[in-house]
Symmetry: C2
Subunit: 120 residues, 2 copies
Amino acid sequence: MPKRKKDVCEIFCYNKKLVDSLKREIIGRGEIAGLSSIFDVLSDQTRLKMIYLLSKRELCVCDLANVLNLSISAVSHQLRRLRDLRLVKFRSEGKMAFYSLEDSMVKDLFKSALSYVQKK
Amino acid sequence: MPKRKKDVCEIFCYNKKLVDSLKREIIGRGEIAGLSSIFDVLSDQTRLKMIYLLSKRELCVCDLANVLNLSISAVSHQLRRLRDLRLVKFRSEGKMAFYSLEDSMVKDLFKSALSYVQKK
DNA sequence: ACCTCATTTGAATACTTGCTCAAATATAAT
DNA sequence: ATTATATTTGAGCAAGTATTCAAATGAGGT
């Protein structure tokens, strides 16, 4: 709970009716948490690159690490985050694990954001 | 620069040809930085709420703070981040500053992500 | 059984970030 | 000018996070 003392303008700009109705509206939007977690997982360059690569072809952990110039461990940690959000799936073949995108929706999000960035 | 010693599987899973071509491909994608910064700014619940609210109506800093139950200062700091990425614009009227969305593309991104979240 | 190798996992560290507090601007009213 | 108010800004703190290191797991090969 943040405390606001005289930090708040209670007389002039505080539009109580509007503020109250907006408060109710915002509280109703439980999706905000879901939204932020999906954007959050996409906010890291390493994970973005992984998603980009995996959207094209299946790759093993080691090759991913080599392409990204990261340690195997770092890649594995990030893959776990992507797995937790069901963005990637994997199949194991012998000792190795091959990862690929779980579904194409992330790819679409990636694409719309890309066109947004390119227009700027 | 990360150092990889024997962490790397150089004999079996390292597919040099593929890795090299993917490396070139990834380096070519300078957009990754832009993508991550747009996703990053959207990865915070406070900023998401602000964007949602501002996409509907123009609001002053103080009312935003009241709706979000945050200090004026916190809101102002976040607004600056949104301004830096040109996601919001503002006009000042007297002592007050009224903010609104700069363009609708973010709104679209917001919407596609929302439908993604809701499908899960 | 043993050894090797690909991957995973937990702990520790260094870096990032959202908020608060205090001070600074800016604009309007007296 | 002085005062009051709406917003901005910079510094500092606390919480979160990406990476590394070391150890654990798991699956084959000998």
